[in-house]
Subunit: 336 residues, 2 copies
């Protein structure tokens, strides 16, 4: 196993320690795998909590900060965080105005966030949840009933986070988060597997001339294993599935996310972006804003996913609001 | 070859097209592999130009913007840009106040930037150059006389860029760039090779239980091939070489860069960061600011480099000045 680690059982703890050592604007809750904004007790602000298994960095800790998340909770690698960890995240940032939990649709995550939310409500904290299911590749999967949540999640953090900073109520923040989810579709592909540190060998086998289409962010199987295609053909496969699912129509405006899964060079993500933009233009879909980078990875998997968010005036305005997180920084006047 | 590309001979052109499609704040000079700031004709500002072979993304295009570079010029993958391309970059952003060329020490780069600078001077543009040689691993290498320039380059972009935004003269901008270079040391290691698209096979062979220490960013050989070590041992190897070379002493303040070479998960970079910070503390070296991400890669190579910049009050102030580039965004008041 080729990894820069010490003890495979300690990777999450050491990662979180190394992360707060690098970024003093993020604080770890003592004894928990929970990261929070240093200044998170803003009065009159709904708080946003997200999380999931580790191994998807920079998600979700990299999105803590002004205009996005207040707390992120990490499970072991590709493993849901436990309810007590989630509860701690909720409590650590509580302002009294309620919390929105942003949960990707995996059975373990959904169950544990639900339990944590019941425990928080018993502590008198008002909770709402949204479940993200942006992956159009499969209807049910290894770890889900219904569609999986993947990289499009970042758009939900951004939209809901901007609304929360405006001082909106919990139901209003939930409303825009759900609107973003309803307008959001994604699909991914991979050229290689990844290796979970505590397992020590690749999650799946794939031949030197093959790619996997529609796989999940934990290496769970996709729709098909096929011969490697060109960037233009990959773009067509992914964009066609996404566009026809919502469907996105000529005249629609979208935000586009080209997300690297871990070991895909930026060079390849930009080449893929060119093909995707060409296809959108051909379909009459206007790309309002584009994000190209690693936002939600699967350890060192080679591959990419595409996410498209259909915009209306409200979503456009929220997308354009400032953000100040490790990964996403957008300028503008902050009401901090 | 597992890559998301179309034609291996067109990767640089398609990448640059895909990059400007995603980021309207960056413009490509028509017909050239040159990217520039959209608003680059600021009066009374020394311009900064850097570049080199492609395959090191986000370097250097990702550092174009307020407080860093005005232009970046790209050669083919791992190949120096030609003098006419460099000249075009210089001319495209010229303000009449002179240009500083920030060049990594590779024979081809040094020769071509020198030729371009002579051509620019004949066109009446005042030019100064600095040569970056931060890699302590080897004294001479495959492509260099003297030490190689690697990821520490980003600190030179930042320091010189901040000085240029203040309206400083070309000689003042050069002075702080050279001061940063004098105070800068780096060293890297890799777990895997990378594959140049037009070659189609890995640049070097490395066994499943081996790592290469002190290698360059083009896969050129390092100091030694050894059995894989733990993150703590890797940190010790790199930090010892760096610290003893300058030397960095107890009481020194430094900026620290933990740079991923392409396919190293953020998880591993943060684990490495923890070990590096522990070692600095033990040596009495104060880490003033830490950067952890992919800043200068070698396509999809797995591995990391560490860079340390010794700070004085002037360098600290320049490091803290705002920056607004694709990769590095720092807040603060901008005199734009």
């Amino acid at each position: 196993m080729k990894k820069i680690i010490n003890d495979p059982e300690q990777v999450v703890d050491e990662m979180l320690t190394g992360m707060v050592m690098a970024h003093p604007e993020i604080v770890r809750v003592n004894g928990f795998n929970v990261l929070i904004r240093k200044e998170s007790k803003k009065k009159d602000k709904v708080t946003l909590i997200s999380g999931g298994g580790s191994g998807h960095e920079p998600a979700h800790g990299g999105f803590i900060g002004y205009g996005m998340l207040d707390a992120a909770v990490s499970g072991e690698v590709f493993t849901s965080p436990t309810p007590d960890q989630i509860l701690e995240a909720i409590k650590a940032v509580d302002t009294g105005k309620g919390s929105l939990l942003i949960v990707k649709n995996y059975s373990g995550d959904v169950m544990n966030f639900e339990m944590a939310s019941e425990m928080a409500e018993m502590d008198g904290i008002e909770i709402e949840q949204v479940i993200i299911n942006d992956d159009v590749a499969v209807e049910d999967s290894t770890y889900t009933t219904g569609r999986r949540g993947i990289a499009g999640t970042i758009f939900v953090h951004k939209i809901a986070g901007a609304m929360a900073e405006k001082g909106a109520s919990l139901s209003e923040v939930k409303r825009v988060a759900q609107k973003a989810i309803n307008n959001l579709r994604s699909k991914g592909m991979a050229l290689t597997s990844c290796t979970v540190p505590s397992v020590g060998k690749p999650t799946f086998e794939i031949a030197e001339d093959e790619m996997e289409v529609g796989l999940g962010i934990h290496g769970e199987p996709g729709v098909e294993k096929i011969k490697i295609k060109s960037a233009a053909e990959i773009a067509e496969n992914l964009v066609d599935s996404i566009v026809e699912d919502l469907p996105f129509k000529s005249g629609d405006e979208v935000a586009l996310l080209i997300n690297g899964l871990g070991s895909t060079p930026l060079m390849e993500l930009y080449i893929l972006n060119k093909s995707v933009q060409d296809l959108c233009r051909k379909r009459g879909i206007k790309v309002y804003k584009t994000y190209v980078d690693e936002y939600m990875t699967s350890l060192e998997m080679a591959g990419a996913s595409i996410s498209m968010l259909k915009l209306d005036d409200e979503l456009k305005e929220l997308l354009d609001e400032p953000a100040d997180t490790l990964v996403l920084k957008q300028g503008g006047k902050k009401d901090d």
